[in-house]
């Protein structure tokens, strides 16, 4: 078998598409004016930003006035949580979230906890999904915010966002969702789903790293996170990153157009890999619900072997993947996501995540199915845990 390069880590980041690069390029060298300037030359940049804003709004079912460009998904998460907390601290100090959010959310919540806010972390069960009954039971008179991720970055499980949104709307509680992993891969509609705030990040759908957007429903007046000039209608200061904003707009437009077909194609790749692995490797377990799952996510625990060793051997075969093992995180603890869905330590240490997107092919899947079983066999032969 010929060695291939297989990029199966699209949940970490994606390749920027050629169309996106082409759309961005003129804004580096031709239309480089500062969008805030008065002269006509800057108008091109200004128009490009507003065009991108409309593209993002269309993708989300929002109006352009509700979209703010930010530096990354992390910034949007910080802004939404800390902004809401500051705005509503007088009204209440209780927040509801989940234990398997991205660290951009979890660490923001930790900061708020230190400031006296109280956070309820809803259970996510072994299928990696929040239950709406638990949310209803957790709501208190002083609950000011619910933040539940749209889809989990490690195990790919999609949360019951529309149901959560409906409950929050009925109880008059603001609802934020970190949709960084979902945008461009599953349909999102802020109106139908009653979402008040949403974070997204370009590099998860073939736009560059370091550009994101925040959807803020009209009337949600959270205070600014970045103080400075009057950009983004005085809501987010800093000279706009015009080429990247253009790239984000282009990428979300393409992703939205392609979504109905592309999500089916990628889901078929995902299922081929999951079924193929279950067939070829004994003592493995798929992590996370199989139905309510991102089209591009496969997360599997391979018993008796350790994740970093698996990743290193996959890398030697040209395959890029990820693991929830402690030895890949630089800490002694395995992934908080895998702990939250109740895996024991050894099983969590032996987890692998493969994630696929636009450039993934069936050849990639078949190659992984070829190279992984002998790697597992070799490591199990070396393992004191294997029977």
């Amino acid at each position: 078998m010929e060695k291939r390069f297989v990029y199966a880590d699209n949940a970490a980041t994606t390749r920027v598409s050629d169309e996106v690069v082409a759309a961005m390029l003129p804004y580096f060298t031709e239309y480089y004016g500062n969008p805030s300037a008065v002269y006509g030359f800057a108008g091109k940049a200004k128009t490009a930003i507003e065009n991108a804003r409309a593209q993002v709004a269309t993708a989300l079912g929002a109006t352009p006035g509700e979209i703010y460009f930010v530096s990354c998904g992390t910034e949007a998460d910080n802004w939404a949580l800390k902004g809401t907390a500051r705005m509503l601290a007088e009204k209440g100090r209780h927040i509801i979230s989940t234990p398997f959010e991205h660290h951009a959310i979890l660490h923001s919540l930790n900061t708020l906890e230190k400031e006296g806010f109280e956070v309820t972390y809803l259970p996510v069960y072994d299928n990696g999904r929040v239950r709406v009954e638990d949310l209803k039971a957790a709501i208190r008179p002083d609950t000011i915010l619910v933040s539940v991720m749209f889809a989990n970055n490690e195990i790919g499980t999609i949360q019951p966002i529309a149901e959560i949104g409906a409950v929050c709307r009925e109880r008059g509680i603001l609802f934020h969702t970190d949709a960084v992993q979902a945008i461009g891969h599953v349909p999102v509609d802020v109106q139908a789903m009653n979402i008040d705030m949403l974070s997204l990040s370009g590099h998860k759908f073939h736009a560059p790293k370091g550009i994101g957007a925040m959807y803020l429903r009209k009337g949600v007046g959270i205070p600014n996170f970045m103080d400075g000039g009057g950009q983004e209608k005085k809501r987010r200061a800093g000279t706009e990153n015009v080429p990247y904003i253009v790239g984000l707009g282009k990428a979300i437009e393409i992703a939205t157009q392609k979504l109905p077909e592309e999500s089916k194609r990628v889901a078929a790749l995902r299922d081929r890999l999951m079924d193929g692995l279950l067939e070829r490797i004994p003592d493995i377990k798929i992590n996370g619900d199989r139905e309510n799952r991102l089209p591009g996510n496969v997360n599997v625990s391979i018993k008796y072997v350790e994740g970093e060793s698996l990743l290193m051997m996959l890398d030697m075969q040209g395959v890029c993947a990820a693991s929830g093992s402690a030895c890949t995180s630089g800490s002694l603890d395995p992934s908080h996501v895998l702990m939250a869905i109740g895996l024991d330590h050894a099983t969590a240490h032996g987890s692998l995540r493969f994630s696929f997107a636009d450039y993934s092919t069936q050849e990639d899947i078949d190659y992984i199915l070829e190279v992984l079983p002998p790697i597992v066999e070799k490591l199990r032969a070396m393992s004191p845990l294997a029977k």
């Binding site: 060793s309 030895c327 002694l332 004191p384 845990l385």
Partner: protein, 151 residues
């Protein structure tokens, strides 16, 4: 991130396996820490004539297991007891700082096997190895095993 030597020992680990008639067996680590090593030794007249290992762990854990078994094979018990995790790491041309805790595994496993060796013969291992049991030994690496449930 790893040296060529580490990659070599990870890809082609030496002395993997078990010894059916081993007279010294030691196991250290804990799934909580991520790495587990079991070592088998055949000791004759105070010399380690054969040694094999099995390791569940990251690249650094596998490579240090492999290197440590090479370094004690054919050596006396006294020489094996003098082997430090630092010496193993150096023999591998170094390990990334965050991986040093993985290399403690090999040093501990050798000591654990020797504790077992003396216990089997009804000899108190403490004056020779320095420890009575694996648990006592691991707790002495408090700084390195930080975060371990059992430390």
């Amino acid at each position: 991130m790893y040296s060529e030597k580490v990659m070599d020992h990870f890809t082609n680990p030496r002395n993997v396996g078990e010894i059916a008639d081993a007279n010294a067996v030691g196991e250290v680590g804990n799934p909580t820490c991520g790495d587990i090593m079991r070592i088998y030794m055949k000791i004759e007249d105070g010399v380690i004539t054969d040694v094999k290992f099995k390791t569940f762990g990251c690249g650094a854990a596998v490579a240090t297991s492999s290197m440590a078994t090479e370094m004690v094979k054919g050596k006396t018990i006294a020489e094996a007891l003098a082997l430090t995790n630092k010496a193993v790491a150096e023999a591998l041309d170094g390990l990334p700082p965050i991986k040093m805790h993985c290399s403690v595994l090999a040093e501990d496993a050798i000591k654990a096997a020797l504790i077992d060796y003396y216990k089997r013969q009804g000899i108190d291992p403490k004056p020779i190895v320095g420890f009575d049991s694996v648990a006592e030994m691991e707790c002495c690496h408090g700084d390195l095993h930080e975060g371990c449930q059992h430390a």
